[in-house]
């Protein structure tokens, strides 16, 4: 059985009051199927619709159209059933500051109907497992950002959900905290829990996820394993040449260079996908000179999820 199924999911936010413009389409005709036990990633830049999608799947955003089934329940008609089966780790830690660390877990468990003694037992176990047991009686404000994020994961696991949602879980964490969070997530995945994570970090998606959905402007652009997606990256290498003025006049010439699979201009930036990598750089420079353009900067990127993303959307992830 699928852990998550969405069909033609759509969310349009109404325009702000008093403005006559059309609404913002945050999610557009999204079809997803996440398998039980899968570590599923949603990759896209800020504003791609990832958080809105998570919002719909976690019953906090009402879809404008379409359908979403999470852990066997419909998010619109059976939100309470969905909530008992999911755990949510928000983009920014939002612990209950009126309560201590362990109380955050105990009260959360009780919101899910778990008896107090059992709630306390689970809470202690989770704090132990996430490495913040020594902070048990601390105030939430005494935790570092990474520790708060761990508390959020512990809280999301307190009621033993079937599906765990994490929205950009490592934003704002230092590299060390990020790596240790990755370890925790891998561990949860090994235990067979379904995990849905959004991120705009390529490496994170690549390292952790079984499958990845690349999303931009509310649309699903690609969906596959990280290895297969990387194999889909066009050409071999992305060569980016920044000129001192609009690069559009030399796109045609760049396209005609032997070994170039795709060329496009974004203002003064010329993007060329080529299997000959650095060898075509002299030709690009002289193409620019013929139109009186001077090179400011040159950058090469090996084929990666990043180059695939740029070729799909024309935009960078971060």
């Amino acid at each position: 059985m699928d852990a998550i199924t969405t069909r033609a999911l759509r969310k349009v936010y109404p325009p702000p009051a008093k403005s006559k413009g059309a609404g913002v389409i945050a999610v557009d005709a999204l079809d997803l199927a996440v398998k039980e036990g899968e570590f599923f990633g949603m990759l896209g830049p800020n504003g791609a619709g990832k958080t809105t999608t998570i919002g719909i799947l976690t019953t906090r955003v009402r879809p404008t159209a379409g359908e979403a089934i999470v852990a066997g329940a419909n998010v619109v008609s059976e939100p309470a059933a969905v909530r008992t089966r999911i755990g949510v780790v928000p983009q920014r830690p939002n612990p209950d500051r009126g309560l201590s660390v362990i109380e955050n877990l105990i009260f959360h468990a009780r919101y899910f109907g778990i008896a107090r003694s059992e709630a306390a037992r689970r809470g202690e176990q989770l704090l132990e497992r996430l490495g913040i047991a020594e902070k048990k009686n601390a105030k939430v404000d005494q935790l570092s950002g990474g520790q708060q994020q761990r508390l959020m994961i512990a809280r999301a696991l307190t009621h033993d959900p079937r599906v765990l949602f994490l929205d950009e879980p490592t934003v704002g964490l230092d590299p060390q905290a990020r790596l240790s969070l990755w370890e925790i997530l891998r561990d949860l995945h090994r235990q067979g829990r379904t995990i849905i994570m959004t991120t705009h970090y390529m490496e994170e998606a690549d390292q952790l996820c079984d499958r990845l959905a690349i999303i931009d402007q509310g649309k699903l652009l690609a969906l596959d394993t990280p290895a297969n997606l990387k194999a889909q990256a066009p050409g071999d290498t992305l060569v980016e040449v920044a000129f001192d003025a609009d690069a559009a006049p030399i796109v045609a010439e760049a396209q005609s260079i032997d070994g170039v699979s795709k060329a496009e201009a974004r203002g003064p930036l010329l993007r060329v996908f080529s299997r000959r990598a650095g060898e075509i750089i002299p030709a690009l420079i002289s193409a620019g000179e013929s139109k009186n353009l001077t090179v400011r900067d040159i950058h090469l990127s090996r084929p990666s999820l990043e180059t695939l993303f740029i070729s799909l959307t024309g935009r960078k992830l971060t």
Partner: protein, 261 residues
């Protein structure tokens, strides 16, 4: 797996959370919501009568108003302020919005918790005021059912109002809420004078009827100092019921907009 939890059980757990947190913050809460009424009691219930500038009997008029003021101010604040912070910045309420309970019940829980806090403030202020003002002619606790009815109904009405204000007003405008809504409400709420006393200024007597606080002050007069002329009980109770219903409806609507986009 824990599936199908009864909403009543979830509601009780969320209420227990609020009671736990409120109990810890009780001293701050009482200072925040009852200091102003108590200062007023000191000046108008103790100093001015001592100086002979105010008649002794004034304290009988004033005490029910002071209790009404403490009850309503604390009920409003104990719902509106956390709502503004929760939805505006901390997002702390999200864990309760993700609990297996219909979203409107999360809002109703806030109203119940606000009502309880209002009652606590009223119970705190009443003996202190009595202590400061000395013996109050006409004060009686013989009408306990009436007192309970007015207290609970008023607490509910003003907590619901707090829910509406806290979810409909942007946090930046919190100062505006106090100066434009609360201050006039307090001054024209028949807290420092009885409503029947306004009969010499008929325009005022009817204009203040749009002020919800008037019915709480008059209700407290009916319950605590019934010998003083006050608004008919039926009018008072009907008005409080209506105010509760209106702000419950407005509050739930505004809460839903903030909770689910």
């Amino acid at each position: 797996m824990t599936d199908r939890v009864s909403p009543a059980r979830v509601f009780a757990a969320i209420l227990l959370r609020d009671v736990t947190v409120a109990r810890r913050e009780l001293p701050y809460f009482l200072v925040r919501t009852t200091l102003q009424p108590i200062l007023f009691v000191i000046v108008f219930g103790f100093l001015l009568p001592k100086m002979g500038l105010i008649q002794r009997g004034y304290t009988t008029m004033m005490l029910p108003g002071i209790v009404a003021l403490s009850l309503t101010l604390s009920a409003i604040q104990s719902v509106a302020l956390p709502m503004m912070a929760d939805f505006g910045y901390t997002k702390e309420i999200e864990d309760r919005l993700l609990a297996p309970i219909p979203t409107p019940l999360v809002a109703v829980e806030k109203i119940v918790s606000g009502t309880l806090q209002g009652i606590v403030a009223a119970i705190f202020v009443l003996p202190i005021s009595r202590l400061i003002m000395g013996p109050i002619p006409g004060l009686t606790f013989a009408h306990l059912p009436m007192l309970l009815l007015v207290t609970i109904l008023s607490g509910f009405a003003f907590s619901a109002m707090g829910l509406f204000l806290g979810t409909a007003i942007a946090p930046q405008q919190i100062g505006l809420m106090f100066s434009v809504i609360l201050a006039p409400m307090i001054m024209f709420g028949c807290t420092y004078y009885p409503w029947t006393g306004l009969q010499h200024i008929p325009a005022m007597k009817y204009a203040v009827l749009i002020n919800p606080l008037v019915y709480v002050s008059e209700g407290m007069r009916a319950a605590l100092t019934p010998s003083i002329p006050h608004m008919p009980n039926v009018v008072m109770a009907t008005a409080l019921l209506l105010i509760s219903a209106v702000f419950l409806w407005l509050g739930l609507r505004a809460f839903d907009r903030r909770a689910i986009s």
